[in-house]
């Protein structure tokens, strides 16, 4: 065991893992965390706590992660490279571990121009791949990035993101390989809608033997409405929403769109359960945590194993 986290145990026992996502509040209210957490409790094995996602200021992800631990749940602490240099990042990693955080997801982060402070100064001292290597170094070698020893190693289960739909497609799997080479233990992918392309990507990863070295959790986001599908198709960078998703939502009554979205999501999960190289799913119900129980239930992912 690298970290002994619940997520790591489930994955290492070969069980199909389910992770969820929780966005911290744009304010200092701890209550918001516990409220959202209630919907996810018992439904998922670990909850990603986003780090100022889309570059919008929110409660810090390590603090929100700690609040989640108080709720008796396991956080997956997200860390982006946009806002902190290597000094702050290493210090946050130490602090997060000391507070009981055992999973970390290493990301580059959305560019600040998308957020609420578009003219803030970017940091990007290191990139996500270098961050993975840094956490691994801290964990396995008990040294900082500069090779100086640290007193107690933060034994984190290291996650990384992968986007099978980003360009250039042929390079994506190589980027996955780089993340594995740097020491990532698990991958959570970008929201998947285009199943053909995803199958292509995973089969290439299988061929290269990558899926034997890492647990890949397929990312899904249920469509709340036709409007959301259209917005994601047009406006969200790196998102591949094929026309058939739009068509299918168009085909049902407006009131039924949410339930249709969930149905599509569940069908995907069913396929992932059988797919070679997939170790679990990551359900990103954006500001829709309350429907996660329904998804998990309809996708027959309950009860969650205890390990």
């Amino acid at each position: 065991m690298k970290s002994g986290s619940n997520l790591e145990k489930i994955l290492s026992e070969g069980k199909f893992a389910v992770t969820g996502e929780l966005g911290p509040p744009r304010g200092a209210d701890a209550g918001a965390i516990s409220e959202k957490a209630q919907h996810l409790k018992g439904m998922v094995d670990s909850v990603n706590i986003t780090d100022n996602q889309t570059a919008v200021v929110r409660m810090s992800s390590w603090a929100a992660s700690t609040l989640l631990i108080r709720e008796g749940m396991e956080p997956n602490y997200q860390m982006v490279c946009r806002d902190r240099n290597r000094i702050a990042m290493q210090s946050d990693i130490l602090g997060a571990y000391a507070l009981g955080i055992r999973n970390i997801l290493c990301l580059s982060g959305d560019h600040q121009s998308f957020g609420d402070h578009p003219k803030s100064k970017k940091v990007f001292d290191i990139d996500s791949i270098q961050l993975i290597g840094m956490v691994k170094k801290m964990r396995d070698e008990a040294t900082f990035l500069n090779n100086e020893p640290l007193s107690e190693a933060p034994r984190m289960f290291i996650g990384a993101a992968a986007n099978p739909f980003g360009e250039p497609y042929e390079f994506r799997v190589h980027r996955l390989a780089k993340k594995i080479a740097c020491g990532a233990d698990f991958i959570q992918t970008q929201c998947i809608y285009n199943m053909e392309r995803f199958r292509e990507w995973i089969s290439r990863a299988n061929d290269m033997g990558l899926t034997e070295k890492i647990y890949i959790l397929a990312g899904v986001t249920p469509m709340k409405s036709l409007g959301m599908a259209r917005y994601m198709q047009k406006n969200v960078p790196g998102m591949d929403v094929p026309d058939y998703v739009i068509k299918r939502l168009q085909g049902v009554d407006k009131k039924q769109q949410a339930s249709e979205g969930i149905a599509m999501c569940c069908e995907q999960i069913e396929e992932f359960k059988e797919m070679k190289g997939i170790a679990g799913v990551h359900i990103m119900a954006i500001e829709w945590e309350k429907r996660v129980p329904e998804i998990v239930e309809r996708a027959k992912l309950l009860p969650r194993p205890t390990v």
Binding site: C81, R82, R86, S108, G109, D110, H111, S113, F114, K122, F124, D125, I126, D127, S128, I129, Q130, G133, M134, L145, A161, A162, N163, F165, G166, E167, P168, F171, H174, R175, A177, K178, A181, C182, Q190, P237, G238
Partner: protein, 226 residues
């Protein structure tokens, strides 16, 4: 070349208001080449400033003098006999030139008339594009001659983020993704292995004021250890 653009007239006016006699110094180096701070711009700006102050009924006098380069002491020396007659200096050189000018004439207030924007190239007449962040540790040899520090919005070193679409950067649809360009150029040259390796966290060289002496001149300027 260093690219600069002229500040707005209002801003320049605000900066020098209160000074009755000003010398506007042009630079025939980079800022002249990018049409921001050569003799012609000095003349234009002086005319605009004197007209603007005249309209406000404020007594104001301005002259112009353009030197070869304000980043070189021998050329700044040309200003020595002139400067005493003026209350303040305006400079149309890049930020480096302006500071060197201010350093030479410490008793005179020096004001910038241009904003220094970037190190770039001349795409066409009056059209410039940034190409270098002067980070001090060039990776162009690895990346097929395309700079990830400058051209990638996030300055990533290990390939594109998840965002590019239709070859464009997620931050701006009209900007090509630097990493896609790098990938394609290396593929074209059969050098993809360059970016399949992990590029480790780098030692940033641009954190403090840059300063250097060429190896062959060290004996002149570097104090020997005793």
């Amino acid at each position: 070349m260093i690219i600069a653009e002229i500040k707005s007239l209002d801003e320049i006016k605000d900066l020098i208001s209160g000074y009755k006699k000003v010398l506007n110094t042009g630079c025939a180096g980079c800022t002249a080449v990018c049409l921001a701070g050569g003799q012609k711009e000095v003349e234009s700006l002086n005319l605009k400033l004197s007209s603007a102050f005249k309209a406000d009924n404020v007594p104001f006098e301005i002259d112009g003098f353009t030197v070869e380069r304000q980043c070189e002491v021998d050329f700044l020396a040309e200003l020595d006999p002139l400067v005493d007659d003026y209350d303040a200096l305006l400079s149309m050189a890049c930020g480096a030139g302006i500071q060197f000018l201010a350093e030479r004439f410490p008793h005179k207030p020096v004001f910038p008339a241009v904003n220094t924007t970037f190190i770039g190239v001349n795409k066409d007449v009056g059209w410039y594009e940034e190409r270098c962040k002067s980070c001090g540790d060039c990776v162009l040899g690895l990346t097929g001659g395309i700079c990830p520090v400058t051209m990638c919005a996030k300055g990533l070193f290990n390939g594109p983020c998840g965002g590019p679409q239709n070859g464009s950067c997620e931050v701006n649809k009209d900007t090509p993704c630097a990493w896609i360009s790098i990938y394609e150029r290396l593929k074209l040259q059969g050098r993809l292995e360059n970016i399949l390796k992990v590029y480790e966290a780098r030692e940033w060289e641009d954190q403090i004021q840059g300063s250097m002496v060429l190896e062959q001149y060290k004996s002149r300027y570097v104090k020997k250890a005793e």
